[in-house]
Symmetry: C2
């Protein structure tokens, strides 16, 4: 039998599942996607996963059992010590599901690693993206929420209950904006995608941003449907309200990052989603705020970079976990 070298990956989200196969170096050779069959419950979804693995493995003429390892990037809270999914308010069926045991039973002899998507993406950016070679890296998304993962000396820093890296829930303003977590004034309540839109809507409702409002009217966007992407686009087009709003967002994000930098002293902070889309217009003021607010000497030494993997981060996240379990 040939030496096992292929890596399999599953990127499991609330609406879709992707299965990928990569060679031993992590280069992705094939990918398939299907909607997450939420109605089937955990057992049905695990059956769908193994079916998808068989299909994607067949594209390189192997069976899943011939792969060296499988990595699973799971879009929800996962306890890597017990190997079970944690209680999730909006997915009650999944609480306590022994995902590790179910997949290990399905694929005996194949290395297996499962982690939440933020940790997996952090590992991917460290192994394949903007954090390559860094001794200490902090990865932050700026999407629906502000998720985070910490890679230190080549390993994920997990903390108690795999809960580390929640920079999005550090508090900037104790009596500030309500956050989805139930607290007030978290970074996420100012700089996540929906929070960026909400802050802009509040300003417009208070009478600011006439020119931006005209842009939205021309584009047929109703104010309640405003999204961070549209603000980024208007800022790129030179609309002052949008530019100022993005600058204010860079202040909040820079403040939150600065505090994380003082605590973690990372070599590099890698930012995904909104930061990647907005580019230098956002990153340059943000870097200045990090230097102005992080521990002197550390802020200047820490690089703050947009993510390197873009839309492929989920695929690489799963493959990075698979590579990690092999220690390669």
């Amino acid at each position: 039998m040939a030496e096992r070298s292929h890596l399999l990956g599953l990127d499991v989200g609330g609406t879709k599942i992707a299965a990928v196969v990569a060679d031993g170096s992590g280069e992705i050779l094939a990918k398939i996607r299907r909607p997450t069959p939420a109605a089937l419950g955990p057992d049905g979804i695990v059956a769908e996963m193994t079916d998808m693995l068989a299909e994607v493995a067949a594209t390189v003429s192997i069976a899943p059992l011939d792969a060296a390892a499988l990595g699973v990037s799971f879009g929800g809270p996962y306890d890597p010590v017990r190997g079970v999914v944690r209680d999730i308010p909006n997915l009650p069926d999944w609480g306590g599901v022994p995902l590790y045991a179910l997949l290990a039973d399905a694929l005996p002899g194949v290395g297996l690693a499962i982690d939440n998507d933020a940790n997996a993406a952090a590992l991917a950016e460290w192994r394949f993206g903007a954090g390559q070679g860094a001794d200490h890296m902090l990865y932050l998304t700026m999407g629906t929420g502000i998720g985070g993962g910490i890679v230190s000396e080549g390993r994920l820093y997990r903390g108690l209950r795999n809960a580390g890296g929640e920079v999005g829930h550090t508090v900037l303003v104790p009596d500030g904006a309500e956050c989805g977590c139930g607290h007030r004034g978290c970074l996420e309540a100012y700089a996540s995608g929906p929070a960026i839109a909400r802050r802009a809507i509040e300003k417009i409702e208070a009478g600011e941003g006439d020119a931006f409002r005209a842009v939205l009217r021309d584009a047929g966007v109703a104010l309640p449907d405003l999204r961070a992407e549209q603000i980024v686009e208007a800022a790129r087009d030179g609309v002052k309200f949008a530019m100022d709003h993005l600058a204010e967002t860079a202040f909040y994000m820079g403040w939150g990052i600065a505090n994380a930098v003082s605590i973690l002293a990372p070599e590099v902070v890698v930012l995904g989603t909104v930061a990647t889309a907005a580019g230098d217009m956002f990153m340059e003021p943000l870097r200045r705020h990090v230097v102005d607010m992080a521990m002197p000497g550390v802020g200047e030494a820490t690089r703050v970079e947009p993510a390197g993997l873009g839309d492929l981060v989920g695929d690489y996240a799963a493959i990075a976990l698979a590579a990690d379990v092999l220690g390669s």
Copy 2:
């Protein structure tokens, strides 16, 4: 020759040096102290260190060369990768001194570990004090500054340039009180010993705290000489101004700790100095603020405890480094 088992330690501060000897389990057997001979410069101080090690080792009838390891807790910034002392504004002679090489040359064959005092104290609380057995621990002092050290899975988390753990320089109020680091609004500018005193003085000068002012007058303490310890004492005696001031300090400290807890998800946060002196009156509100502001689920699971080693922390800090180099 008997197997080497004794551990030696040096606790090097700006005004005094302590040398200790411990048995292999870390129990301290003897200790000597001398003033730091600052005028002699680094070479003279290193000579003093080796002389002190000979003296303290003699109390257990060994020579320093017979010890298994030496740990040095250094009261200043130290670069463990290069083994040199960093530039220190107030001790210009020490910048670039190759402390590791100097001591390794003096004690060939003896294991050697050197680190800054905050990291060493963190390791001591993890090995011998309130953090024993924790997978992830954050240690914070509340003395002249707010120093910090992180122990993760039995090892110090250092970060870039050994600069991690600077929770004291996370920014709570961007346009707030001036901090010694040159920035504004750092936690240290609200909750270090001198900051606790400064905030009280500002309130008293604004006309608050008549009863407390009377207490100070009776004790012969001039307002500019007020120290955090005197506020803690008055709070213990039930003086309302001092109690309220300590409660406000617990809010700032709890806020800063909550943010660190969201990022690090430590099993336990160990607090030294002011927190230890103030006891439950300070720790209980502080714990509530941590739960109110840290990532939900994590704040509740993190213990926040006063330090366990008290005034002996410096001695154990040095010995913990020595034990660490042996991997014992």
